[in-house]
Symmetry: C2
Subunit: 326 residues, 2 copies
């Protein structure tokens, strides 16, 4: 087994200096056409691959994005994040970036782990998810001047950083508009208790699509069982409902089960997240398009040259979700 070829070996084979080979790889524009071709051929012949650690040591850049992986929630969600991670890895790869994972049971541990990665030069940017008002992570990252972008709005005034999010209100608005058209005027909403930014946003979309700006609003915890009980009660009480828009697929599934049990299997129900579970049961749902979120996140994170950019200008992107009818 031979030692792996180095820049020096390529240089010797092509009859040029180390630096010229380096230029062919990193700044082809500086090298004359014929030289460039000769060097390229030598690279291919020898099967040369740059050594990432040596490059990283010299340039002080790792071309790596650190991404926190949430503990498995056990709930019905997670698919959105899953697709987001996949798309992020794929698109980052196309831009010459890698995605490195890390975990942490709570935000403090998450920060500690991330600090290791950043200080050790293993990552030079990060993507965080599930931000909330007063999130310690965003403050910490901004203070360090580490390039980062959040998947999720800060839900407060402190949005002094870049983020990408899905326009939940637009999603429920679309769902409600469809329900009004297809089923009738009495479109109810099944959401979570007030106070969560995401939930309030999704409720807002429903309300704004109603002609009267008022309608029946049901509340349930994020659980199939609870949602089922709530909807069963309402249906038993004889309330007149033409359709139901829900804040999540879990809620939608609970509602669906209640509707079937009450002999109203035909009640139009729209969920949120377009999880495989909703697909399996045949429920309509609002699709978050995580691939678009990932693409936008990279646009905010990387400057045109391809390297991670300091978080000077806080920029935002709202991705418009899509209604999937079944």
């Amino acid at each position: 087994m031979e030692r792996a070829p180095r820049l020096q070996d390529v240089a010797a084979a092509a009859g040029v200096s180390r630096q010229t080979v380096s230029n062919v790889i990193n700044s082809p524009g500086l090298v004359r056409e014929d030289t460039r071709e000769r060097v390229s051929r030598a690279i291919a012949d020898l099967g040369y691959r740059p050594h990432a650690a040596a490059r990283s040591l010299r340039t002080r850049r790792s071309s790596t994005i650190a991404m926190h992986l949430d503990p498995y929630a056990g709930g019905i969600s997670g698919v959105v994040l899953d697709r987001f991670v996949h798309a992020l890895t794929d698109l980052a790869g196309e831009r010459g970036m890698r995605v490195l994972l890390y975990t942490g049971r709570d935000h403090d541990e998450e920060i500690a782990r991330l600090a290791e990665l950043l200080d050790g030069g293993e990552a030079d940017a990060t993507v965080i998810t599930g931000t909330f008002h007063g999130d310690p992570r965003t403050r910490w990252l901004a203070a360090r001047r580490t390039p980062f972008v959040a998947f999720g709005r800060p839900w407060g005034e402190d949005d002094h950083h870049s983020w990408v999010d899905v326009d939940g209100a637009a999603g429920t608005r679309k769902a409600t508009a469809w329900a009004l058209d297809a089923a009738g005027p009495r479109v109810a909403f099944l959401g979570w208790p007030a106070g969560s930014g995401t939930g309030d946003d999704r409720e807002l979309g429903w309300r704004s699509a109603l002609p009267s700006q008022a309608g029946l609003r049901l509340v349930s915890e994020e659980s199939v069982g609870d949602a089922r009980a709530v909807v069963a009660d309402v249906l038993a009480s004889g309330a007149a409902i033409d359709a139901l828009v829900c804040a999540s697929d879990s809620l939608a599934i609970g509602a669906h089960l209640a509707a079937v049990a009450a002999g109203r299997a035909d009640l139009p129900i729209v969920g949120f997240d377009n999880t495989p579970a909703a697909e399996a049961i045949g429920l309509s749902s609002v699709e978050q398009l995580p691939e678009q979120v990932a693409s936008a996140a990279l646009d905010l994170l990387l400057d045109p040259s391809g390297s991670a950019t300091a978080p000077d200008g806080a920029r935002h992107v709202l991705v418009e979700p899509q209604l999937v009818l079944r």
Copy 2:
């Protein structure tokens, strides 16, 4: 903003040489008690963090495990892999290893991407999933002598590498035994067309648990709709079934929908994978315990010293799944 402290700075602060500080970090046993404490204090005071690239350049090790991320299948599965990745990242972190993701649309592209990472020294081991008989990846990896472990059996005689898998047969055996006991002797099986290692394995478990080694076997593609149709037909034909064991949660959900529609909502059905969808609907399922798989995979991949080990001895682990009743 100060420059980050180097080994040299710590050495000066503690009044020792670079190498001694290095030893405190990497081989504490070589350093005398009092010296070690003095150096440790200096490290803490200065907030020193080793620079990963420099270490990696010198040692020729990256302490990084590359993991391929499958394209989002769109199906109901994926959760198992999701939990596996999370557990792998978590446990690897405890052993001083990182997990780096990569993608590839097909096996050739997957190999090409992996070659970049390995040749560039960005990763020194890998975990692959979804192996099959004659898989080009295992051959390639073995030829390179890259440490790796597969999540999934090779399903052939060519198992000259380490792997971890879930004992599907044991899972369906447990499910069948429970059904025989709780419902009655006529336990049917709903599986995929013969020929897939995983599917045949799961069928085997069911068959081996039946007293007569024979029973009603239904076949469906991996889709809720198809499964529903198949089961609806069988129920309409008046076949006597006491319970149904399925090769996946998708199939189980289809079966469940058919059973409810046929007025047999009480028919005991057991799925496989214990996905959130099964949980949401309240179906029993066989749980794969991906955390245990991840733990076993790391045991096979890393030698006791914590560094990735060459794939000399091919070792295997079969994790026994767990029946979750609902």
